[in-house]
C-alpha cells in the first residue's frame, strides 16, 4: 500500500522545468530519501506534495485521495520541517508550540508539548525567545512542531542542513527511533549521500527534475559497484552531464552538416 502516489508530476517555472514528469510511490512506514544535487527539484516536489505549489501537470494522491480536493483532510495527517523554514523568531519556544498545537487541533496540548519537548530534548529552553536558539536547537524545535499532530506522513526538506556532524548524527538517530516507534512514513530530501545511506530504507535519485535511479542503498551501491553513495552520486550526476554533452555535440554536428 502506497501512502503517496505521484504520477507524471511536472512543474514548469517560465523557462525552467523544475520537476519533469516524475512518478513514484511511498510505501507505508518507510523512510524514503529524495536525493539529488542542488536545483534537482527536491524542494519543488515537496512543496507540491503540500499543495503549496500548483503542479503544471500530473497527479498526487495521498492516503488514497487526490491532494488538492482533499487538502484539509490530508494535511491534518501530514507535517513538514526544514531548517530553511523556521518558526516565528518573535515568540517564545513554548508559545510557538502552543500556537501550532492549536492550529492542528491537538487534543491534550500540555501533555503533547511535554512529550515532544522531552523526545527532542528542548525542555531546557522552552521559556527562551525563538530568536535566541542555536541552529541545532531550532532544528529540534522545528521537528517537535512537525510531530505535534502525530503525522502519518512527514516531509523533511534537508533536515540536517547547516548542522555540525555530531548534531546531524543525533537528529538522524532521533528520526530513525521516532519512525520505528510511531510507524510514520518519512520523505527525506538531501544531497548528502552518507546520511541518506544511513537512514533511508529506499532512495529516489533525481537530477534536473527527473528520476535517474531508485532502489535501496545497498542495491544502488551494488549496481554502481562503488563503496559508498558518494561515489554513486558523482557517477550518476556526471553520467547525466556526459549524456547531455553527447546530445549537444550531436545537435551541433547536425547543424553544421
Amino acid at each position: 500500500m502506497y501512502i503517496v502516489e505521484v504520477k507524471n508530476l511536472t512543474k514548469k517555472f517560465r523557462s525552467v522545468t523544475a520537476v519533469d514528469g516524475i512518478s513514484f510511490g511511498l510505501p507505508q512506514g518507510k523512510i524514503i530519501g529524495l536525493l539529488g544535487p542542488n536545483g534537482a527539484g527536491k524542494t519543488t516536489t515537496i512543496q507540491m506534495l503540500l499543495d503549496l505549489i500548483t503542479p503544471t501537470s500530473g497527479s498526487i494522491r495521498i492516503f488514497g485521495k487526490e491532494l488538492h480536493s482533499h487538502r484539509e483532510e490530508i494535511l491534518n495527517k501530514v507535517n513538514f520541517s526544514s531548517p530553511y523554514v523556521s518558526l516565528p523568531s518573535n515568540l517564545k519556544v513554548w508559545e510557538n508550540l502552543n500556537v501550532f498545537a492549536n492550529l492542528y487541533g491537538v487534543k491534550n496540548i500540555k501533555a503533547k508539548i511535554a512529550e515532544l519537548s522531552d523526545l527532542f530534548g528542548i525542555e531546557d529552553f522552552m521559556q527562551k525567545m525563538t530568536s535566541l536558539l542555536s541552529t541545532g536547537q531550532l532544528t529540534r524545535l522545528n521537528l517537535a512542531k512537525a510531530f505535534l499532530n502525530d503525522p502519518e506522513l512527514l516531509l523533511l526538506d534537508e533536515p540536517t542542513a547547516s548542522l555540525d556532524p555530531d548534531i546531524a548524527d543525533r537528529i538522524r538517530k532521533m528520526l530513525k527511533k521516532v519512525q520505528q516507534d510511531k510507524g510514520v512514513t518519512i520523505l527525506y530530501t538531501s544531497h548528502n549521500m552518507v546520511e541518506v545511506e544511513e537512514i533511508c530504507d529506499q532512495i529516489i535519485f533525481i537530477n534536473k527534475g527527473r528520476i535517474v535511479d531508485e532502489g535501496t542503498p545497498t542495491e544502488l551501491v551494488k549496481k554502481y559497484g562503488h563503496r559508498d553513495m558518494n561515489d554513486v552520486f558523482l557517477t550518476i550526476v556526471r553520467e547525466g552531464e556526459a549524456k547531455e554533452l553527447v546530445v549537444d555535440i550531436k545537435k551541433h554536428t547536425n547543424e553544421v552538416a
Binding site: K11, F13, A18, T44, Q47, L50, D51, L52, I53, T54, R71, E72, E73, I74, L75, N76, V78, N79, F80, Y84, V85, S86, L87, P88, S89, N90, L91, K92, E95, N98, V99, F100, A101, N102, L103, Y104, G105, K145
Partner: protein, 264 residues
C-alpha cells in the same frame, strides 16, 4: 471553517503584541496623538467663533472615525505582513489552515482593535474636550463603525493582495493608498467642498457616505438613511472584489512557487 485554527492565529497575535512596545504604539500612539492635535486645533478654531458651527464635534468626530477606519485596515494588512516578515506563511499553510480562516482571524483582530482604540479615543475626547461620541451619535455610531470596519477590511485585503503580487517592496505604495483616499473621503469637509470633477471619486468610496452621514447627524440630528444605504452598497461591492482579488493573488503565488520568496 474550524474555530481552533482561528483561535491559534488569535493566540499568536496576542503573544506577539503583549510584550512589543512598537506594536502597542501602533495601536495607541497615533490615535492619541491625532486626538490631541485635532482636539487643540478645534478648540482654537472654536474660539475664533465662526458662526454657529460646532467645530469640536465635527473635527473630533472626523478624526476618530478616520483613525478607526485606519485601524481596521492596518489590522488586516499588518497581521498578514507579520507572517511574511517572519517567513511564517509556509508553516501556517502547511497546516490545514484555510485562507478564509486566516482572513476571519485578521477581521476579528481588526474588530478588537477598533473597539479598543474607539474606547481610548472616546474616553480621552470626553476627558479633554467634553466631546461625548456616544451621546452625540447614539445608536447610529454602531452603523458608522460597522461601515468603517468593513471598508477597512477591503482596504487591508487590497493591500495584502498587492504584497502577494509585487512582494514586500510594494508595502510602501500599498500603505500610501490609505493616504490617497483621505482627501476624497470628505473626512473633514463635505463633498461639496471638492471640485466638481473630483466628486465622482468621492462618491465611489463608502467612507464618504459615513463622513457625510456623520455631519448630517451633527447638523440636524436626523439620520440620513440614503447615505447609509449607499455606504453599505459600495462596501458590499468592494468586499466581494477585494476578496476575489486576494484569492486570485494567493492562487498566483502557488502557481509561481513564491510563498517563501515574498521578502525578496
Amino acid at each position: 471553517m474550524k474555530w481552533h485554527r482561528i483561535k491559534a492565529l488569535l493566540i499568536r497575535y496576542m503573544y506577539l503584541n503583549k510584550r512589543s512596545l512598537p506594536r502597542l504604539m501602533d495601536i495607541f500612539y497615533w490615535p492619541v496623538l491625532d486626538l490631541l492635535l485635532w482636539g487643540f486645533l478645534s478648540f482654537y478654531l472654536e474660539k475664533l467663533n465662526m458662526g454657529n458651527l460646532n467645530v469640536v464635534t465635527l473635527l473630533l468626530g472626523a478624526i476618530i472615525f478616520w483613525d478607526l477606519l485606519s485601524q481596521s485596515q492596518r489590522a488586516v494588512a499588518v497581521s498578514f505582513l507579520e507572517e511574511v516578515w517572519e517567513k511564517n506563511l509556509l508553516n501556517l499553510f502547511v497546516a490545514p489552515l484555510r485562507i478564509s480562516e486566516f482572513l476571519v482571524s485578521t477581521i476579528l483582530i481588526g474588530f478588537f482593535r477598533v473597539i479598543l482604540v474607539g474606547l481610548v479615543m472616546g474616553s480621552l475626547g470626553l476627558l479633554f474636550y467634553h466631546f461625548n461620541i456616544i451621546g452625540q451619535f447614539g445608536f447610529y455610531l454602531i452603523i458608522f463603525l460597522l461601515n468603517l470596519l468593513i471598508f477597512g477590511w477591503s482596504l487591508g485585503l487590497l493591500i495584502i493582495g498587492f504584497i502577494l503580487r509585487f512582494g514586500t517592496s510594494a508595502q510602501i505604495i500599498a500603505f500610501g493608498f490609505m493616504v490617497l483616499i483621505q482627501p476624497f473621503s470628505a473626512v473633514f469637509y463635505p463633498v461639496s467642498a471638492l471640485p466638481e470633477s473630483l466628486r465622482y471619486i468621492a462618491y465611489i468610496l463608502p467612507s464618504t457616505y459615513v463622513f457625510e452621514g456623520m455631519r448630517a447627524v451633527i447638523a440636524s440630528s436626523a439620520f440620513p438613511w440614503s447615505q447609509l444605504g449607499l455606504a453599505l452598497l459600495t462596501n458590499a461591492i468592494y468586499l466581494v472584489l477585494t476578496c476575489w482579488f486576494f484569492y486570485r493573488m494567493f492562487a498566483r503565488i502557488k502557481e509561481k512557487g513564491t510563498i517563501m520568496r515574498l521578502n525578496d
